[in-house]
């Protein structure tokens, strides 16, 4: 079965840890970190990178535009 494989890069300095991306992700890839950034926010990170399909939902809903999304061409698994 061919499935798109994606990855995100979060700007952890700008992220405010609002968690909107966490609930927007259809494959439960994103979590908020236990650690905090310079402003004291629990920034988002890829907890489960293998599940990412690069759908861009997280990037689209991010109010601070701190998520960049990449998607590789579908691979046969």
């Amino acid at each position: 079965m061919a499935r798109a494989k994606g990855a995100i890069v979060v700007d952890t300095v700008q992220c405010k840890g609002c968690g909107v991306c966490v609930s927007a992700c259809p494959t439960q890839v994103i979590k908020l970190a236990d650690a905090v950034n310079g402003k004291g926010y629990h920034y988002a990170y890829m907890e489960n990178p293998d599940a990412c399909i690069g759908c861009t939902s997280c990037g689209i809903v991010c109010p601070d535009t701190c998520i960049t999304v990449y998607r590789a061409k579908p691979v046969t698994v």
């Binding site: 861009t56 991010c62 535009t65």
Partner: protein, 254 residues
């Protein structure tokens, strides 16, 4: 199975921050809808290639500092007077793309007269209306758009409609005016809704280029600080309560 580090390469890039959006960190609270709508306007401006010809009119409210975030020309209006200033800018510079960006305390309260008359004259402008049912910047006071029973800092027990009346549905009012060509209500809490809002904004700017009249894009929004909720809770509350009184969809599209 491709490794994450090999996926992160320029040829696989599918979503990134548009160049119209500046790198300044927004002063908005975590999860604020303003950030999302700023981004959408920037993306629409970028995709239409109108960065050099767009003039935004910033409001009074949280978005008063919008000029720090979008790399276009801006004017700053007195509270509620953005449609009047947009009228002036558009009439003097008819080849520019002019939009006002206003909250509900600005557009639907102190600026009601300017809003209604600009729409009635059919000024060829785009109005972006952020409706979160509260005065966010000044401390969460009751606005004309506050829902019945919704608590705010000046009505902690909830809006009493026998005393304060019902919330004003300004978009429905404006849709009845002959000057408006496009009036729509959208939201920006899920990826699907964000996409729809972006389409609506694009259509509004295209209407302006086609000299069709006033386009109003209302975005039902959250104010997690004013509502005293987490951003995710606020989105859920908005879905459950705001959409019942402020249903999403096009009210007018001519």
């Amino acid at each position: 199975m491709a490794d994450t580090n090999t996926i992160i390469s320029p040829e696989n890039l599918v979503y990134k921050k548009t160049d119209v959006l500046l790198d300044n960190v927004m002063h908005y609270c975590p999860g604020c809808t303003h950030g999302t709508v700023h981004k959408l306007i920037a993306e629409v401006i970028d995709e239409m290639g109108i960065q050099e010809t767009t003039i935004g009119i910033a409001p009074v409210g949280c978005a008063v500092l919008a000029y720090n975030y979008l790399d276009i020309d801006w004017q700053e209006a007195a509270h509620g007077r953005a449609p009047a200033l947009a009228t002036a800018v558009k009439r003097l510079l008819p080849n520019k793309n002019v939009f006002s960006y206003q909250g509900d305390g600005d557009l639907a309260a102190i600026g009601t007269a300017e809003t209604i008359h600009a729409c009635n004259r059919g000024e060829n402008i785009v109005m972006v209306f952020i409706n979160n049912g509260i005065y966010g910047m000044t401390g969460g006071q009751m606005a004309p758009t506050t829902l019945p029973g919704m608590p705010a800092s000046t009505c902690p027990a909830g809006r009493d409609t026998s005393h304060d009346g019902m919330p004003i549905k300004i978009s429905e009012l404006l849709a009845q005016l002959p000057g408006t060509c496009y009036v729509t209500r959208q939201s920006a809490h899920t990826a699907a809704n964000v996409r729809k809002t972006k389409k609506a904004l694009r259509k509004a700017f295209e209407n302006q280029q086609a000299n069709k009249g006033t386009s109003l894009v209302e975005v039902v929004s959250t104010c997690s600080s004013g509502w005293k909720m987490s951003p995710v809770q606020a989105n859920k509350w908005m879905e459950e309560h705001m959409f019942a009184y402020y249903p999403l969809g096009d009210m007018k599209d001519e």
